[in-house]
């Protein structure tokens, strides 16, 4: 048995998670997963394999059968407020997340919901915007921003809640290569544990310390990103050779 210092408590612990949609589709069929502090894990898998359903369970947006713990707290109605402060969920389409009339108000939205005063929320929002390099745009309306800028503001919108874990759903969608490189640099600088749902193998390789492969609602394999990509023939280049 390893000493406790070398085996810290996971920030996310999921045991035997099952979920079935109302139409009968089984989305998750017994998922076991752990995310360690400071770890970056990529979630691979085909469309419909259960990746997004899985991450929606992590902050209680969906409720399945099984156990989900975040920072030692079971995800249930009584703990939702604290759990949602611990997990920052960045959605695939930033337009779904940026709904306030100005960038500053959007970023401050989460902080205000935590019960901070407007002054504190504004100060935190400015710090978060500074971190993602968007402080110059705080008065702009979200629809005036490029896709890459929107993504940065969406990340600032969760950083303002000072989460311990970042969950990003397809973060490179809508981004051009410079936007992807800028996002990679930004994510490398952020100290939080990260869970990244992605089809972008190169992006995952450049960030993830571990990869997990979803198949038919289960984790079919996990390990170093290169090995998982090889094992499940998940590299775009391999398909191009076919």
């Amino acid at each position: 048995m390893r000493p406790a210092a070398q085996n810290p408590a996971p920030v996310i612990s999921v045991r035997d998670l099952h979920y079935r949609y109302d139409d009968g589709t089984v989305a998750l069929a017994g998922v076991d997963f752990e995310l360690q502090p400071s770890e970056t894990v990529a979630l691979f898998g085909a469309n419909g394999s259960g990746k997004t359903t899985f991450v929606l369970h992590l902050n209680g947006l969906l409720e399945g059968r099984g156990s989900v713990e975040v920072c030692g707290m079971p995800v249930k109605k009584e703990t939702l407020k604290r759990v949602r402060q611990k997990i920052g969920l960045v959605f695939q389409d930033p337009d779904d997340q940026l709904f306030m009339p100005s960038v500053l108000e959007d970023v401050a939205f989460g902080a205000l919901n935590l019960g901070l005063s407007p002054q504190q929320a504004s100060a935190r929002a400015r710090i978060a915007l500074e971190k993602v390099g968007m402080i110059e745009s705080l008065d702009k309306a979200p629809y005036h921003l490029s896709a890459g800028q929107k993504k940065r503001v969406a990340i600032a919108g969760v950083l303002v809640m000072e989460p311990e874990i970042l969950v990003l759903d397809e973060p490179t969608t809508f981004l051009d290569p410079p936007g992807q490189r800028a996002l990679t640099r930004l994510l490398r600088e952020l100290p939080q544990s990260k869970l990244i749902v992605t089809h972008d193998v190169d992006f995952a390789r450049s960030l993830a310390t571990r990869a997990v492969f979803f198949e038919k609602g289960r984790i079919a394999g996990e390990g170093p990103a290169d090995r998982i990509v090889e094992q499940f023939h998940w590299d775009q280049k391999q398909y191009n050779r076919c």
Binding site: Q85, F91, M100, A108, L112, Y143
Partner: protein
């Protein structure tokens, strides 16, 4: 689009821009009430009201021609009803209808062109307008762009495949596209709600800054509401 320009105007800096949203809303309501109840000597009073509005437009550093042109957006509607009045033998009533609707539109335009939407909604909220209604207005404003852009892409896709022509069932294609747009908007609404809930939303928007109603705001309401009211009363007593 109209609201892109209006938003740019609303982020300006002038005496009118700096006034509390509630002051401008109250002044607008008073102005609308005065215009609506003016009947006698309207021909002369309309000129005075227009001068007042133009003075406000100039002091807010808005482009006069642009503001006058944008306020004309109500004319197709009011001219329709004015034509009906004209045809039924009430030409003065028709002229009143057109004049009043144009002045009211210009006054409302002045409010939205000098008040950023968050402040406007906050002002309406503190004046007792139901929060749910304001939330709907805010989301409509924010997502109008996204929906229009989706619609534009669908139209292009339809045109690329030779659709949207009358002979080849263009109406059916447009109706189908509208249905898809509705379904997508519904899906998006669910995603937006999820993103709000995941950031701790519990059914009520918290405000980032609180508004202050100062002496200058009170003075602004008195002048902006008092001048048209005084003119209207003076015309009534004279007439």
């Amino acid at each position: 689009m109209h609201h892109v320009v209006l938003e740019r105007w609303s982020r300006g800096s002038s005496f009118v821009h700096r006034r509390d949203a509630r002051a401008k809303i109250l002044a607008l309501l008073a102005f609308l009430a005065v215009v609506a109840t003016t009947s006698r000597s309207f021909e002369w009073l309309a000129g005075f009201y227009l001068l007042l509005l133009l003075a406000a437009v100039i002091s807010a550093r808005l482009p006069v021609a642009g503001a006058l042109r944008r306020a004309a957006v109500v004319l197709p509607f009011s001219l329709t009803f004015a034509a009906i009045s004209w045809l039924s033998g009430e030409p003065r009533h028709a002229a009143l209808l057109v004049g009043k609707s144009y002045l009211s539109a210009l006054a409302a335009l002045l409010l939205v062109s000098t008040t950023p939407l968050p402040q406007l909604l906050r002002g309406l909220d503190t004046l007792g307008i139901p929060g749910f209604l304001l939330m709907v207005a805010q989301f409509l404003y924010r997502y109008l762009f996204v929906i229009v852009e989706q619609g534009r892409r669908m139209r292009l896709a339809g045109l690329c495949r030779g659709g949207l022509k009358r002979r080849s069932g263009g109406f059916r294609a447009a109706a189908g596209a509208l249905g898809v747009l509705f379904a997508r908007s519904y899906d998006r609404a669910e995603c937006i709600h999820r993103s709000m809930v995941s950031r701790g939303f519990q059914g009520h928007f918290q405000l980032l800054s609180s508004a202050r109603f100062g002496f200058a705001d009170a003075a602004f309401v008195c002048v902006a509401a008092g001048l048209p009211l005084a003119a209207s009363l003076a015309a009534r007593f004279r007439g």
